[in-house]
């Protein structure tokens, strides 16, 4: 009902800020409650973005405004624990931090105490230093003023996680963040927030998994924001896996700011979600900074997956490489919007972008919009976007060797995705993600 009123006003989705939603609740510390209140105002002013907004041209959030989402109140520990078991996660290699409906669950989490020089804490519960870090950086990398969903996240988050790796520390094992949703009978929305800070020379691998049962009785809205700050020569490998049920709306914004010679490697594997938006923006703020963004998606049915990236080269000799590959079946729709901006000072920039989609059915669609905006003159930039079907010649070649059509098709799709998956430098993750992608193919 509120959604209807909101639309009459020309601002979509104000019901998402309804009381009892976290937005109006005291946040416990003055800086955080100020940030939240400000963000609530930002969201109220902007509302959910409509397709008139260029960045949302191909993804329609109107259906969101029509659902009366509620904030999760309690979680049933027993059913959640069953859920965690059901998801059949491999045993954690290092720390595993589990969130249910955006709330940290120490009972399901495991902290690897053998690693030193790293802290992982909620924004409010950290030591003085980490609290100060969160207060200083939160909302500075992903900004609420111009991004309504970041505003909504900031207004709606209850708490979040701050990962801080001290200067020069190389973490031996990955930190895993598992975000679970359960099969709730009413529509729930939650807003996970993560801040990852690597001081100069620090190195870490963070694996995020968003999981929920494949069959969900009610839609869920997961609106997550991750902010990343990398100091000079810091290196972060950030791997994300999305396997939310198809009744889920998953909006995920990652914003990273890189210091000199820092490296941000990210890979996103998406198989789940009804409507998914993976929004990644990286600013290469200092000389020599480098980012490698890659992803693979496999969608079917009526899924809608939007990959939007913005890379801003602001300093000399900065590098980006993007490789995204996707498989679209049924009447699913994929979107790739890749914008690369090379500022005047970013001489010697090297930017490379590739996005390819494989359409497996007549109803499958993809919209691709690569954009290069170059203000410097000494740069090397290239981009390529393509959509195609299974290569019939190759299919026949495989079949002529006795390989059944279904297996031949799977082999070709695996080969197609291989380019993207091979961008993952961590071997364990690469193998695990490949297995997940190939299992999707096997099950179709």
């Amino acid at each position: 009902m509120l959604g209807m009123e909101a639309r009459r006003d020309g601002v979509l989705g104000l019901s998402l800020l309804a009381p009892g939603f976290g937005a109006g609740e005291p946040a416990g510390s003055s800086w955080l409650s100020r940030l939240k209140a400000e963000a609530a105002r930002d969201f109220a002013a902007q509302g959910l973005p409509t397709r008139r907004r260029e960045a949302w041209k191909y993804t329609d959030l109107k259906p969101l405004a029509e659902i009366a989402f509620r904030a999760p109140v309690t979680d049933d520990s027993a059913s959640v624990r069953t859920l965690a078991d059901l998801l059949d996660l491999p045993p954690p290699e290092g720390s595993r931090l589990v969130f249910v409906h955006g709330r940290y669950r120490p009972d399901l989490s495991f902290c690897d105490l053998s690693e030193t020089g790293v802290s992982m804490s909620p924004f409010n519960a950290g030591t003085g230093d980490d609290k100060a870090l969160a207060a200083r950086l939160l909302g500075r990398i992903a900004t609420a003023a111009d991004q309504p969903l970041v505003a909504l996240n900031t207004a709606g988050m209850e708490d979040g996680l701050c990962i801080h790796v001290c200067a020069g520390v190389h973490l031996q094992r990955p930190i895993e963040i598992v975000s679970l949703g359960s099969a709730a009978s009413e529509p729930l929305a939650w807003h996970g927030r993560t801040l990852i800070v690597l001081d100069d020379g620090a190195r870490a691998t963070v694996i995020e998994r968003q999981c929920a049962p494949a069959e969900m009785p009610a839609p869920a809205l997961v609106n997550a924001v991750t902010e990343i700050a990398l100091g000079a020569a810091a290196q972060l490998c950030h791997y994300r896996q999305q396997a939310l049920g198809t009744a889920g709306f998953h909006i995920n914004a990652v914003a990273a700011a890189l210091g000199s010679d820092a490296v941000y490697e990210a890979f996103t594997l998406t198989t789940g979600g009804g409507l998914v938006r993976n929004d990644t923006s990286v600013t290469l703020d200092a000389p020599g900074a480098e980012t490698r963004l890659a992803g693979a998606y496999l969608v079917d049915g009526t899924q809608h997956l939007d990959t939007t990236t913005l890379i801003e080269h602001r300093a000399p000799r900065t590098t980006c490489r993007e490789v995204f590959k996707g498989v679209v079946d049924g009447t699913a729709e994929a979107v790739f919007q890749g914008r690369i901006v090379v500022q005047r000072d970013a001489q010697g920039t090297n930017a490379n972008q590739l996005s390819k989609a494989l359409l497996l059915s007549d109803g499958a669609r993809v919209n691709q919009k690569p954009e290069l905006e170059i203000y410097a003159d000494d740069v090397k930039c290239s981009h390529g976007a393509a959509a195609g079907q299974i290569d019939r010649e190759a299919l026949f070649y495989l079949r002529s060797r006795g390989v059944p059509a279904s297996v031949a098709q799977r082999l070709l799709i695996e080969g197609f995705l291989g380019d993207a998956l091979s961008q993952i430098s961590d071997e364990t993750v690469r193998e695990a993600f490949s297995r997940t992608a190939f299992a999707w193919l096997q099950d179709r």
Binding site: A394, F396, R399, L412
Partner: protein, 249 residues
């Protein structure tokens, strides 16, 4: 053995094969020669079951069994092999994955257990050694970046691993220099066996100097218009196809 009976086929509604009849006995090597447009490659694709090649009459049998109504993979599993004139590049799929899938698919169809990775590598190495191929070709994506000679050798490697009853070699000599041609021909000769029939489709006689056929057939305008021994190939080399093409028309 291979029996082709009065085969008629069309491509895009145009008749290309117009009553082709041919029998290749077990252990025999036959060559089909003919001018451009005679229907040589069409014959190869029709036998292998490629989309878009419609059989409008006749039949063909491998070992007494008609393969006409079978899917390409089932024809392969029944013992038919086509060495492509232009082997297809498959980025992202390693040659070893491809070969292992192929050999295991065929093993499964015979009710045999899969070869595991080790067993497969052992088999592949042994076959590759005999073809003068290096292990490195197993790791590379199928035919991607292969030279003309490597592609053809890769076809012969598949032939060696899959051990078909009938091998149709489509223009195996095209794109090869003399040395590569010799290498490939030696490999094919080594694979001649009492229970294996070869049908060599070729434009030029030079391949048949290396792989000496039992019979040579001239294909013109979709039919066999002349047959003979290996000497027929040398005659064609001297006189050309004109006389045969005229006879067919």
């Amino acid at each position: 053995m291979l029996e082709i009976r009065d085969l008629h086929a069309t491509v895009n509604g145009k008749a290309i094969l117009k009553g082709l009849t041919l029998t290749v006995g077990a252990g025999e090597v036959h060559a089909i020669m003919g001018p451009n447009g005679a229907g040589k490659s069409t014959l190869a694709y029709v036998l292998a079951g490629r989309d878009g090649y419609e059989v409008t009459g006749g039949d063909f049998l491998v070992d007494g069994r008609s393969l006409l109504d079978l899917a390409p993979e089932d024809r392969a599993q029944a013992g038919l092999f086509l060495a492509f004139q232009y082997p297809v590049e498959i980025p992202g799929v390693s040659n070893s994955t491809f070969l292992r899938e192929a050999v295991n698919a065929q093993r499964r169809s015979r009710g045999e257990p899969d070869l595991d990775a080790l067993q497969f590598v052992k088999l592949a190495r042994q076959k590759m050694n005999s073809l003068g191929m290096t292990d490195e070709m197993l790791k590379r994506p199928v035919n991607v970046g292969f030279s003309g000679g490597e592609k053809k050798r890769n076809e012969v490697l598949q032939l060696a691993i899959l051990e078909p009853k009938v091998a149709v070699m489509d223009e195996t000599d095209s794109g090869l220099d003399v040395d590569a041609l010799r290498t490939v021909a030696r490999a094919v000769n080594a694979l001649r066996a009492p229970k294996r029939s070869f049908l060599m489709i070729t434009h030029y006689e030079r391949l048949l100097e290396e792989i000496v056929p039992d019979r040579v057939h001239i294909l013109a305008d979709g039919r066999i218009v002349g047959s003979g021994g290996p000497e027929l190939a040398r005659e064609i080399e001297r006189t050309g196809y004109a006389a045969y093409a005229a006879a067919a028309a």
